[in-house]
Assembly symmetry: D2
Homo-oligomer: 333 residues x 4
Amino acid sequence: MRFFSDNAAPVCQPVLDAMLAANTLDTAYDGDRWSKALDGAMSDLFETQVACLWVPTGTAANALALAAMVPPHGATICHAEAHIQVDECGAPEFFTHGAKLLLVEGHGAKLTPAALAETLGGIRDDVHQVQPHAVSITNATEYGRVYTPVEVAAIAEVIRPRRLGLHMDGARFANAVAHLGCSPAEVTWRAGVDALSFGFVKNGGMGAEALVFFKPELAAATRYRRKRAGHFLSKGRFLAAQILAMLEGDVWLDNARAANAGAQLLAQAAGERLVQPVEANEVFLRLTADEAAGLRAQGFDFYDWGVGEARLVTAWDQGAEIVAPLAQAIAAL
Amino acid sequence: MRFFSDNAAPVCQPVLDAMLAANTLDTAYDGDRWSKALDGAMSDLFETQVACLWVPTGTAANALALAAMVPPHGATICHAEAHIQVDECGAPEFFTHGAKLLLVEGHGAKLTPAALAETLGGIRDDVHQVQPHAVSITNATEYGRVYTPVEVAAIAEVIRPRRLGLHMDGARFANAVAHLGCSPAEVTWRAGVDALSFGFVKNGGMGAEALVFFKPELAAATRYRRKRAGHFLSKGRFLAAQILAMLEGDVWLDNARAANAGAQLLAQAAGERLVQPVEANEVFLRLTADEAAGLRAQGFDFYDWGVGEARLVTAWDQGAEIVAPLAQAIAAL
Amino acid sequence: MRFFSDNAAPVCQPVLDAMLAANTLDTAYDGDRWSKALDGAMSDLFETQVACLWVPTGTAANALALAAMVPPHGATICHAEAHIQVDECGAPEFFTHGAKLLLVEGHGAKLTPAALAETLGGIRDDVHQVQPHAVSITNATEYGRVYTPVEVAAIAEVIRPRRLGLHMDGARFANAVAHLGCSPAEVTWRAGVDALSFGFVKNGGMGAEALVFFKPELAAATRYRRKRAGHFLSKGRFLAAQILAMLEGDVWLDNARAANAGAQLLAQAAGERLVQPVEANEVFLRLTADEAAGLRAQGFDFYDWGVGEARLVTAWDQGAEIVAPLAQAIAAL
Amino acid sequence: MRFFSDNAAPVCQPVLDAMLAANTLDTAYDGDRWSKALDGAMSDLFETQVACLWVPTGTAANALALAAMVPPHGATICHAEAHIQVDECGAPEFFTHGAKLLLVEGHGAKLTPAALAETLGGIRDDVHQVQPHAVSITNATEYGRVYTPVEVAAIAEVIRPRRLGLHMDGARFANAVAHLGCSPAEVTWRAGVDALSFGFVKNGGMGAEALVFFKPELAAATRYRRKRAGHFLSKGRFLAAQILAMLEGDVWLDNARAANAGAQLLAQAAGERLVQPVEANEVFLRLTADEAAGLRAQGFDFYDWGVGEARLVTAWDQGAEIVAPLAQAIAAL
C-alpha cells in the first residue's frame, strides 16, 4: 500500500469522465468553452472576481505566480523548507530570471510574522541587496500544517507597508480548506493573498492546476509567460475540464476530506510518536529503522524522513477505512 | 467543419484507452513502467540507442532541445517563418537564456544549404557576435513541405565543419515520414539530426510530445531543465502512455497517412490555386475574399493566410472521405 | 594612421585632468559629488528633468535602457544592422532576459516610419507572438547617417498608439548633434525619445557613458539592474568626472565637430566613390582591393566593408588637418 | 578620516602613471599590447599557465567566474554572509541565469570542511533539487579572516569527489597573501582553486580587476559572456595597464602590507574589544553607541556593524603612521 506520495494516486472518476466528455471538436489553446468557463467558476468559488489560468503542474503555477510579482532583481521570502526552494530544481529562479529566495526558518515549515519581520528588518534598502517583492507561504505546508485565516492575515499585515505580494502555494489547498472548514475566500484574498496555486493533481486530478490571481491584472503578462514557458497546451480543454470537474459538486473538498480523515486515523494510532500535529493529509512520526522495516514488510510503502522519522501521506482514495490496516500496524508497534 | 488546425482535433481512441489503462497505482514522475519503457520503444523505432523525454507541448520539446545545444551567448539558425521564431512567444530565448535565433529566408519555410552557408559565412568569429551552435529545421515545415533524407543530410554537411547541432522540429514529423515512406531513422540521425521534437498532439494525442536525443548524453542536463521549467508532471505515466499507444501498431503513421490523404484530395481539387506543393497535411491555396466567404458559408472553417490566400489543415480524423465535401466545394469555385 | 575605429583614439586632456582631480578622498559608488552632479548637468543640457546613470560601456547603456522598457516576453524593433543586433554579442537579450530583437531593413541603417509601420502591422496581438515594447534607433547610425528631429518624431508618431518606448543609441550622438546644429533636446525627448545612450568613449572619453532617461521614473529599477550587472563601479567618481568634463565648455561638441570635419574632407576627396552621404564621422566608399592595398601601403589603416567597399572612421583627434594626407591619397587614386 | 571602506580610497600613483602612459594610439578592446601582456604577467606571478581577463568590477569578476562553472540549473555553495550573496544585488543569479546560492554558516564568514560536507550530504541527487557545481570562498573574508593554503586544500578535498569547481573571491586577495606570506600559487591553484577574482580596486587601483582562470579552458566562453555583459571596454588598455602597474615591483603586495599594518595597529589598540582576529585590513570591534559617537566626533568615519559593534577598514594609503590617531583614540576609550 502506497503512503509515499499523493502524487502517485490514481485519477478520480469525475475527472476522467470530464476529460472524455471534452474529446469533442473544439478550438485550440484556451479558446474552448471549458477554458472560457474557468474565470467564472473560480470567481464563484472565491466570491470575488478572479483571473484563472490552467497549467499542467504546480511547479509551473508557483513559478508563474512569483514571476508575476517579483522582478529579476528582486526576491521572494519563503520558508527554508518550502517546496519552491527545495523541490522545484530552481523553477522560481528560472521563471523570475534569477530573483532570489530569501529563506526563513520556522517550525512545521510555517512562517511566523515575527520571523518574517526580522528578515525584512535585516535587508538594507540600497542597490547592493535584492529587495523583497513577495512572500510565498504553503498551505497546507510541506509538513502538513495549516495556516488559519488569522495567521495568513498576520503575515499580510507585516508586509503591507512594504507592498509585497503574497503568494500561496496551495498544492494541498483543498486539504487545508477541508481542515479549516472555512470558505476558500476567507483563507486567501480576504486574508491578503494575491495569487494562489490551487492544486488538483495530488487530490484526484491528472495534470491540471489552477493559477488564481485575486488581482486579475496580474494575469495579463502571465498569459505571455505561460506560452513562452511551453505551458500553453494546444488541447487546453482537457486541463480546464479537469478543474471544472473537481469544482463541480465539491469533488475537491470531498476528496480532501477523505485524505484528511485517513491521516487522522493514522495520527490517532501514532499518538506520542507524532512529530507534527496532523492537520492535513501528511503524518510525520518517529519510527526506528526496525519499526520502519517491519511496516514495510507488511506491505506499507512510505518515505523515511531523516533519521528515526518517517512521512506517511494519504491520498483522496485513502479514507479512514482504507488506511485502517496501517493504523493498526502502527498501533501494534 | 474544422480545417483551421490539427491542434483542435479530438484525441484518438488508442490514446484514450492507454490513458485509462494507466490509471492504476504507480510511482510518481517518471518512475513508472510506461515512462521507463520510452527509451526502449523509441530506440526500437529509430534503430539506434536514443534518450527520450516526454513533455506536454511541442514548444517545450523545441525549447529544451535548443537549450541542450546552444549556450546563452550562442545562436540557433532557423527559417524566418519557423514556428520557434514566430509562434512560441520567445520560448527558445527563455529556455536558452537569450540565445539568438538567426533567420534565413527560403521558399516553403525550407532552409537550403546555400542560404545556410551564406548566413554562416557572414558571421565574424569574434566575441562581438553571437556564434551559431545549432540549426533548427521543421519537418514537415510550417508550409507543409517535407525535407527528404538527402536534403537533411545536405544541411548537416554544411554545418559539420563548425560542429553545430541539428534539431528537427517534428510537430508534424509523422506526416513527413508518411509522405516520404522512409524509415524514421533515415530522415533523422542517419541524415545528421541530433535531436527531434517528435509530435503527437496534432496527430491524435492529447498532451504528450517526445523529445528524442540521438546523442543520449544531451539528455542528462535536460532532465534538470525539464523539471526546472515545470514540465516534469507528477503523473507522467499518462504522458508516456499516450506516446507508447501512438507507437504501438503504428498508430502514429496510420493517423498521419489519413491526414495526408485528406490534404491530397484537397490539393487535387485546388489544382492551379496551390501556392505550395502539398506534401503533408497542409494546403495553401489562392482564394479571393469572396471565395473564402463562400466556403465559410458552407460551414468550412479555416484561416486566411495574408491577402488572397488561405490555409487548410487536415487532421488524423479527416481522411479523404471526410474532406470530400470541401474538395468538391473548392472544385466548384 | 588609424581610420579603423574611433574606439581606438586616445583620451582627451580635459577628461584626463578631471580624472586626476577626482583622485581625492570621497565616498564610494555614486555617493560622491561628481556622481551627484550628473542629473543636474544633464538636465541643464537637455533643458528638462532627466535621470542620468554612468556606466562603463555603450553596450551596458543600451542593454540597460532596453531592459527598462521591454519585458522578457516582449521585443524591441531595430534595424537589421543595428549595433545592438550585430555587435554586442547578445547583450540586449542578456539584460532583458531574452526579449527578441525584431529586425527591419532600411538604407543607411535607418528605420523609416513606413518600414516600422509594416513590421508592426505584421505582428498578431496574441500570446503566441512576442509583442513589441520599444523601438531602438541609432543616431548617428552605424553607417554614419543622421536622423533629424523631424525623422525621429515621425518614428515616435508611428509607435505612439501602441505605447512603445523609444530608445536612441547615441554612441555617436555628439557627431549627430554636431551635424544637425540643433539642441540636444530637439532630437531627443522633444521628438519622443524616452532613453538615450549618450556616448563619450568614441569621442575622447576613457570609459564612461551616460544613460539618460527622459522619463526619470525608468531609472529606479535600472539602478538595481546596473549593480546586478556588475556595472556599479565602487570608484564611480572617475566615471562621473569624465562625463562632466566632456559637458563642461562643450568639449563633447568640439570633439565631435573635429571628427565630423575630418570625415567631410575625406568625403570630398572620395566624391563619386561614396556609398553613403557623409553626415557624421564615418565614410563608406567604394575601393578595389588594389586601391585598398595601396592606401594601406601608405600607412592608412581601415576596415574593408564587404567586397569592394571600405569604412573610414575619423576620431575627435583627427580634424581636417590631420586627415589631409588620407584625403589626398584618396583623391589621387 | 575615512575608515568606512577601502573602496573609497584614492588611486595610487603607479596606477595613474600607467594609465597616462597607455593614452597612446592603439587598437581597441583587448587587442592592445597591455591586454595581451596580461596572461603572461599573471602566469609568471602564479607560476603556472593561466588565462586572465580584465573586468571593471569585482562583482563582474565573481559573477563571470561562477557562470563559467555553474549551469543555470546548478548551484554554488558559499557562506551565508558572502559578498556574492549579500552585496551584489543578485549578480551571480544574473550571470548564471538563475543558479542558486546554497548558504552555509560559519564563524568569521569562513566555510569549514565539516559544514560544507554536511551541506553536500543533505542534497538529494535527483532532478527535484539543484545540484552544486561550485564552491565560492572569499579570501580574505568579509570579516577580514584569512584562509591558509591548508584550509583551502581541505575544502578542495571535500568537493573533489563531486567534481565541483572552486572559486576564490579575492577582492582582498592581496591582503590575504600579505598576511600569509606565502606565494600566490600556494593559496590558489596549488590548493585546488580553479578561478580567482583578483581584486585591485580596493588596493589602489581605479577600475580594473583580474579574473584569473587556473583552468585556462574556462576562459573561452567567458570572453563571450564578458562582451555580452557589457564588460568588454573598447579602451581596455586602460584596465590592463592598471593591473600590470600593480603587479610590477609588487605594488599590490606593498599596498596590502600597508593596509594590514594599519589594521594591526588598530587591533592592538582594540585589545579585548575585538570580535574577530585581525588578519587583513578589517577590524571588527565592540563599541557602544556612545563610544562610536565619541570617535566620530573626533573625525573618524566608519560603519556600525549591527548593535554594539563597528567595522573599521584600512586602505593602502592608511599604514600604521596614518592610523595612529585612531588607534590612540580607541585605546583612550
